[in-house]
Structures are given as structure tokens and as C-alpha cells.
């Protein structure tokens, strides 16, 4: 694994494909772009070109606020591989203001202080190849 990123966590490059290109391109510019279903209005996560329940419905991309709250979190203290050096770190689900719950890390703070319900703000942690990982820091 390469050098840790801005926040001391591994920054493994994502696999970018036709469906997720727009999401990852935006992260290079520090923006959170998400697909919203043209039929039901739900914001779909993970990013894709259709809305799950309606199958073949179309989506429109928009720039999201990056604001959210911690839905659940855990301080990982023991783990193997490239993440071992990063312990203790916070793995979390953040519920975005726009609806989706996204798996992420809470960074830029004491891991012991992170808690459910905490307000957080998106930060973009660049990977060596350019796309940035969507992580969060206390608001």
C-alpha cells in the first residue's frame, strides 16, 4: 500500500467506471455530485445511473451539500493489512442531508469523541491517481 493520505488513513484508488465517472471526477474538484431519481426524487447511493426501486428510471446529477450526521460509528482498534498502521480509526455510516447513508471514515478529530448524531461535513481525501475519497470531519 502506498503512503497514507492527508488524514493518516490509507487512500486506495477507487475503480472508476462509466456509471461512476461523474462522481469521481467531481471529487477531484472537491465537490460531491450525486444522482437523483427523476421519478421518485430519491438520491441514490452508491452512485449509479438508475434508481433501485424503479429499475430503469433515469437520474439527474446535482451538487450535494456535503453535510450529514453520524448514523453509526465504530473505533476500529485491531485490523490486519494496510490499515493496521492507521488504528485507531473511525469507520462510520454518515446520513447525508440529502438522504443516503454512506460508508466512510470520520477524520480530523480524536476518534474517541465521534458519536452517533454528530454533525459532520464532507472532506475530500485525494488518492494518488487523482479521485478523492469521501470522508467526513466534525462540522
Amino acid at each position: 500500500m502506498s503512503e497514507p493520505g492527508t488524514f493518516g488513513l490509507p487512500v486506495p484508488p477507487p475503480t472508476v467506471n462509466l456509471e461512476t465517472q461523474r462522481f469521481w471526477d467531481a471529487t477531484r474538484e472537491g465537490r460531491l455530485e450525486l444522482p437523483r431519481c427523476d421519478d421518485c426524487g430519491d438520491v441514490v447511493w452508491y452512485p449509479r445511473e438508475h434508481c433501485g426501486p424503479l429499475g430503469d428510471s433515469s437520474v439527474t446529477w446535482f451538487e450535494a451539500s456535503g453535510r450529514g450526521t453520524v448514523y453509526s460509528c465504530t473505533v476500529t482498534r485491531r485490523i490486519g493489512g494496510s490499515w493496521r498502521a492507521a488504528t485507531p480509526f473511525v469507520l462510520a455510516y454518515v446520513e447525508l442531508e440529502e438522504g443516503p447513508r454512506v460508508l466512510t471514515n470520520i477524520v480530523g478529530c480524536d476518534p474517541e469523541t465521534v458519536h452517533i448524531g454528530q454533525a459532520v461535513q464532507a472532506v475530500f481525501d485525494p488518492t494518488p491517481d487523482g479521485p478523492a475519497l469521501l470522508r467526513f470531519t466534525p462540522a
Partner: protein
Amino acid sequence: MYEHPGRELPDRTLPQIHAEVAAGALADAGLSLDDVDAYYSAGDAPGFGALSMAEYLGLDLTYIDDTETGGSAYLVHVQHAAAAIAAGQVNVALITLAGKPRTGGAGPGGSARFSSAPEASFENQFGMSVPGGYALAAARHMHEFGTTSEQLAEVKVAASTHAQHNPNAFLQDVVTVDEVVSSPMISDPLHRLDCCVITDGGGALVLVSEAVAASLNRHCVPVLGTGTAIKHTSGGRIDLTHTGATRSGPLAFAEAGVTPADIDYVSIYDSFTITVLMTLEDLGFCAKGGGGSFVSDGALQAPNGVLPFNTDGGGLCNNHPANRGGMTKVVEAVRQLRGEAHPAVQVPDCELALAHGTGGSLATRMGSATLVMGRSA
């Protein structure tokens, strides 16, 4: 049915373990490989899966099924086999599981297969270990329902009181609530002793038609009800506080025509203590959020607890071959119904048993499968 007695098998290949458990289960039934017309395997089978293993085992098949839902797959296989037998398409079905995560690495799980999944780059980049994922579910359950670490520990304590009677169990020492909550924290709130063991081993099941059963000199346990359900992240709307058992359980109970109150013994997939607690709630053995108080005061301890569970010691103490616990859940339930569990943990007059598997992760996507089985045909 058959459970491999080994927990560390450095001198066996993965196919050899599949062959050993297949032979063991068929011998238990009084059948041979030549009698098998249907074969079921899941992601632990290497190569082409069931096709590769059928060739290795020398099976001549007219029915094959590779359904993969992780650790619950073997219960799904039972459902599928029962349906195929009922449809007259199958007479003798064989299901095998084998793995050596302790001495042989992760096995054929297919990192390439998982890294090409559409969700991969939105989950794999954040250091989610298996305990970490289940910890997210546990933390949210605690937040919403006030569940405590001490209550989770009761699940491990019950498993350990059973495992002391199992000479094959990987961990045979009885532990206390204090020992569980003071074991090293892996991923808050899950301690080391909230986690299942990592072992080699395997198991196999044989299901037969009623006509074949009548010809066998062996106690055959009827499958009375089955249910399968999946749960996933639903486009970003995951609820971490329940499992697919909320749907697989009622399906199995309805088909069997029984209710949770009728069940004498349960095998509940226990990848972690939180898995058991949430599953018991979702199957209806207690109210949602009431799992913590339900498992307290020895409720899960055989033979006299309110709901004896995992009398072999389960994944928390006995074994967890291939990191997949569904197979051994069925095996111990069959032992209980046959009256062949260890005498210290045999449930008296065990007439109805439930086995439940959870595959995948509580934190993302899972396949849940429930079986209700009876004592006699």
C-alpha cells in the same frame, strides 16, 4: 449429516475436506456417492464450484445448485433441495461445506469477484473489517435500544457453557460476562470474545425423498418450513438494526404452521454476539429491541434455559469452517432432534428445532435463511 472433527487441517486440501464431509454424511445416512443425484455447494467450493467438486467427488448428477449467500447458503440449499425433492426432481441431495481459513488462507472467496462489484469502491476504501461492519450494527442497536456490552456477553457465556462439553470445540473454557467485556476491544463495541473463532473444517448434509428415507435405517429429520430473504443497502437507506430474519423467519414459521413459542431449540448463526441478539428479535422470540434483556439470566443455556441455543458451542466457541457458519447450525439442530446432542446439553423432548443462517454482513448486504425442522417424519 456430518461435521468434520478437525479445527486445524494443514495437511488436507480444500477438495479433500469436501470429500471427507461428503463421505461422512452419506455414511451417516447409509448411502453412497453413487446414490447422489443432486449436489449443492457455495462460494467455498473452488473452481467452477459445484461442477468442479462434482467431478472431483465422482458424482453423476441430474441436478446442481451453486446458490451463494455467504454463510447462510447451506440453509438456502436445504430449502432448494426440499423443493426439488417435493417436485420429484431429486431423490438424494448432497450439500457440502469445507474451508481452511486457519491454515490455508482465505480460500476461493474470490477477491477479484468482490473487487469488481458495483459497491466495491464505495465500501472497500474505508477499512471495513468484518468485525468493524458488525460493530456498526451493534453500535446503532445500542443507541436505539439501550443494549449493553454485558448483554451481548451473555450470548458468548451461553455458548461457552455448551462448548465445555464438546471435545472438538476450538474453545472449551467457560467464560464469564466480565471476561468477555474485559477482552481486548476489536472494533467498538465488539470485544475479542464477541467474535467467532476462525477454524478449518467443514460439514455436509444429505436430504432424501420420503421413499428413500423409508428405506434407510437412520432417524431422518423432516424439514417442515423454510424461508429465505435478502436485505441490502436499498440505494443508501440501510437500517442497521434489523436483519433479513424479519422476513425469512415468518416464511418458515408459516410453512411449518408453528410459532416461535413452539420451538424447543434454536441454532442461530453467531458470527458475533450481536448477530444472535438481533436475529432472535427478528425471528420473533422477543420484541424488537428486547434482545438484550431476553438473553440475560441464562435464557440461551441448555438444557433448561427458556430457549437453548447452539449447544455445540456454535461459531463463538466450536468452529466456523470457511468463515461460514450456516452448515454447522443445521447439523446441531439435527442432533438435537435425533436426541444425539451431548447429554449435558440435550434439550429434553426436543420436537421442533429452528436453524438460522446469516450470510454477508449486517453492515451492508445479507442473505438470511431460516429452517424449521421436526423430530419425526
